[in-house]
């Protein structure tokens, strides 16, 4: 626009406006008032520190007081914090009030310089680099250049190699769970075996595989794959093929509780709709259709565990899971 025609006259810069003096600049009385105000602010900070010290020593750590809106608050930590907040805040308020009222508020103009070095310096720099390179002779001695490149590149492998022992290789572990044919389902928590009759229609139970042997301790990494949800519906509610129907027992159906999307626990069961909902990303699974995904980002149904009862009437797994549980990974279907 500006170079379109010469006659166009632009609006001119009137320059920095004249400095306006503050009351505190011209009248010592106001300056004195400002000085006292700054001192009061600093003294409020002192009061804050005293409050902090008092609270630390004299308020019991288990005293609670009721404060509207915030409810019951631990008095010790509340007054400790309020003291600290006062102590800090008023130092800042005092310093800023001081700067604004009593220090000069006249704006100063400084000049900028161009960042670009001048041509002579630039040329000399290029010359220095070229000379340096010539002395090293990298261009003339390709053998040195190439072997150095190889050496540097290969030495970069060292950290990769040394970090190898960060963890074991996954092997087949991701595809396996503790469930085997005949493993009893036990309650979590409680580790009690479950009879079909323990579950009423509409009930849900969180279960884990029974641990046989001395050490009853469960590793979290086992729970992360073994957690199973039991749900009991009326058998006529199911909409399953014959094979999947044979994996249920008198309306009891079992799914991996680990979401097939990102591994959260699929913890919300809606009794009315018979939907399972993952609270992390809202993937929704239809229990009557073998946990088919009906909404949300999950791409696969929850793996179903085939259940039946043993001779004593306790619920057991018919077989291990027929697919890996939890989120997808590269070698999942290989």
């Amino acid at each position: 626009m500006s170079n379109e025609s010469k006659e166009i006259e632009l609006i001119k810069d009137p320059g920095l406006p004249a400095h306006q003096h503050r009351r505190t600049d011209v009248d010592e009385k106001y300056a004195k008032i400002a000085e006292r105000q700054v001192a009061i602010l600093f003294m409020l900070s002192v009061a804050g520190t005293l409050l902090l010290i008092y609270s630390y020593i004299f308020i019991d750590t288990d005293t609670f007081i009721f404060i509207p809106i915030f409810g019951d608050q631990n008095a010790h930590q509340l007054f400790l914090g309020l003291g600290m907040a006062m102590a800090l805040f008023f130092i800042g308020a005092g310093a800023i009030h001081w700067a604004k009222q009593l220090m000069s508020d006249e704006e100063v103009i400084a000049q900028r310089h161009e960042f670009r070095s001048d041509e002579v310096d630039r040329a000399e720099f290029v010359k220095t680099v070229k000379e340096g390179a010539a002395v090293a002779g990298l261009g003339r001695r390709p053998l040195i250049k190439r072997t150095l490149g190889l050496a540097l590149g290969l030495s970069g492998l060292t950290p990769l190699l040394l970090l190898r022992d960060l963890g074991p290789l996954p092997g087949n572990e991701q595809k396996e769970t503790s469930w085997k044919a005949g493993t009893r389902l036990v309650t979590d928590p409680g580790d009690r075996p479950i009879k079909a009759s323990d579950l009423e229609v509409g009930a849900v139970a969180q279960t884990l595989p029974e641990i046989i042997g001395e050490d009853k301790h469960r590793k979290l990494s086992d729970i992360a794959k073994d957690a199973v949800l039991l749900i009991r519906l009326r058998p006529e509610d199911f909409n399953l093929d014959d094979e999947r129907l044979s994996w249920t027992h008198e309306g009891i159906i079992a799914f991996s509780k680990i979401c097939s999307h990102m591994g959260c626990a699929v913890a919300l069961y809606e009794q009315q709709t018979k939907h399972l909902l993952c609270p992390c990303h809202q993937s929704t699974f239809d229990v009557t259709r073998a946990a088919k995904v009906i909404f949300g980002p999950a791409a696969r149904p929850l793996p179903q565990l085939a259940v039946t009862v043993d001779s004593e009437g306790y619920l057991i797994a018919q077989a291990p899971f027929n697919e890996p549980v939890g989120p997808s990974f590269w070698g999942r279907s290989a």
Binding site: E9, W98, M103
Partner: protein, 528 residues
């Protein structure tokens, strides 16, 4: 000379004899900084970082970053006898047994949230005013680096206490790792020292959280500030302010007192929040176990938009040659954020390519005077906000009695449709504001005083605006669009014809503007 002055002089002389600092300091202490409230945003980020270092160091004295299982036997009765990791138990001890521990934990968390807010708002200020332009591109890129690391640092921070919520977050991070083609399972097994969750992860991210990332932060922040110092701060346009000067207050004493005072104010406000506002009450969540989750699990806000993208992703997964690729995780969790951060980092170069403007800029733009940039910013912001909204879709749905499915569909459609609408609307608003500026300069301010002329006509009196205001509204330069030749002198298409055509078109869009008012036009109107 008083005795005190003599001592001060002697100390200064002693130091200068050895390091020669006077030469440098006499200039530095007079360094001029322009004043504007929006320049405080970066300061808030810096100060909350310092608060994080101080409060974080306090927490390390008691925190035990170990996933070894212990039986809790502390002050908090509801969890007595529960099996948990030593990390969670020590975080409970900090909250209930260390005096001031809960306060420090809450200050640390509030400061982290403030740190990220300040970074993001500072970034928006720099973006919308064009402060990233030459010669400040390096500082822009460092800033994007700090933003990215801040997100990671924050995530690691709230993962450390090993409560049910943080464990759920780690589980999701593990699923993203696993979804990476070919190497995903290996990465996950190496990071966790075996199957999730294992016992290695918390100690490992602890050292990253308290040493490696803070070290990188310190280095980057130092360079960031040194560049601000060396290149001098940008300033808003106004009377007496040019590309060649800086108008403001000297470092010593005004700026030191103001900036130093502001640090205490930020610290004071964070301490106040830590005292009265409960944040991340880990004792309510319980220890992490993979078989449980609490409803309404939410990440901290700066991760929320990522979680929102993951939630709205369509359920796509393919099996190619027997290998599984989870698009539903890869696209929202890695590919989209990767593209967004790359575009953000490259924006200064993209804009200077589009406008052909390679000059230095020290005067800031008013956002309306660069409608295209402002509209692109509004578009990106809308995309991120819709994602963030979807990250809390469960909370919003339950609070406002909506169905979660409606919320999700709103976001799925909105995330595609709303950003272009934001672009168009913003660009129009900018151009309208330019028109209003032009009117104001040419016709003056509406006074609201109506006058009846002798022949019966009513007119409103307009008052001319001050020369300072008129200068502010017209001092910006308006770039002409590029006109790269498509044909050579003989009328034959050049080899770069298509490229030039595209660049001309983009440049036309980037330089759209309402011609600013000039003195000549003003004079012409007066003559009428």
């Amino acid at each position: 000379m008083t005795a005190r002055e003599r001592i001060a002089g002697n100390v200064a002389g002693y130091v200068d004899d050895r390091v020669g600092a006077a030469r440098y300091l006499k200039k530095s202490l007079k360094k001029v900084f322009p004043d504007h409230w929006s320049f405080l945003l970066g300061e808030i980020a810096l100060y909350s970082f310092i608060i994080l270092l101080v409060s974080g160091t306090f927490l390390t004295f008691w925190f035990d970053p170990s996933q070894r299982e212990v039986i809790y036997d502390g002050e908090y009765a509801p969890l007595k006898g529960v099996e948990m990791s030593a990390a969670y138990a020590s975080a409970l001890d900090i909250s209930f047994e260390v005096r001031g521990g809960l306060l420090m934990r809450q200050i640390h968390h509030w400061a982290a949230l403030l740190f990220m807010v300040a970074i993001v708002v500072h970034l928006l200020r720099v973006y919308f005013t064009g402060a990233f332009r030459k010669p400040r591109e390096f500082n822009w890129i460092i800033g994007i680096g700090l933003l990215t690391l801040g997100i990671v640092e924050g995530f690691l921070g709230y993962s450390l206490p090993d409560d049910l919520l943080s464990g759920t977050g780690i589980r999701i991070a593990e699923a993203i790792m696993q979804a990476i083609p070919v190497v995903g399972s290996y990465l996950s097994y190496f990071a966790f020292g075996g199957a999730f969750p294992g016992e290695a992860f918390i100690p490992r991210i602890y050292i990253v959280h308290v040493l490696i990332l803070p070290g990188i932060f310190l280095a980057l922040i130092t360079v960031h500030l040194m560049l601000v110092w060396y290149q001098k701060h940008t300033q808003f346009p106004g009377p007496g302010r040019t590309e060649k000067n800086v108008v403001g207050y000297p470092l010593m004493p005004v700026y030191m007192a103001k900036a130093g005072g502001f640090f205490f104010i930020v610290f004071g406000v964070t301490a106040f929040l830590g005292a009265v506002a409960s944040i991340n009450p880990i004792w309510l969540y319980g220890p992490y176990t993979p078989g449980q989750v609490s409803a309404g699990s939410q990440p901290d806000w700066y991760m929320g938009w990522l979680d929102g993208l993951v939630r709205m992703a369509p359920p796509l997964e393919s099996v190619i040659f027997g290998y599984t690729i989870s698009w539903n995780i890869l696209i929202p969790g890695l590919i989209l954020p990767g593209i967004m951060f790359t575009l953000l980092a490259l924006y200064p170069f993209i804009e200077s390519w589009a406008t052909g403007d390679k000059r230095e800029h020290h005067l800031l733009d008013r956002p309306r005077n660069n409608p295209n940039r402002t509209a692109i910013g509004a578009m990106a912001l809308t995309f991120t906000l819709v994602s963030l909204l979807n990250g809390g879709n469960d909370i919003i749905a339950t609070t406002f009695d909506l169905s979660i499915n409606q919320m999700m569909w709103f976001s799925r459609i909105g995330v595609l449709v709303l950003p272009p609408i934001a672009f168009i609307v913003t660009k129009r608003i900018c151009l309208s504001l330019q028109r209003a500026d032009r009117e104001l300069v040419l016709h003056g301010r509406e006074t609201g005083r109506l006058v009846r002329l002798p022949h019966g006509e009513f007119v409103e009196i307009h008052e001319p605006i001050s020369p300072e205001k008129a200068w502010l509204l017209t001092s910006h330069e308006q770039l002409a669009p590029l006109e790269l030749p498509e044909f050579d002198a003989a009328g034959v298409k050049r080899p770069q014809a298509l490229k030039n055509k595209i660049r001309n078109r983009i440049s036309r869009a980037a330089t759209t503007a309402i011609p600013k008012a000039t003195e000549s036009e003003r004079r012409e109107i007066e003559h009428h």
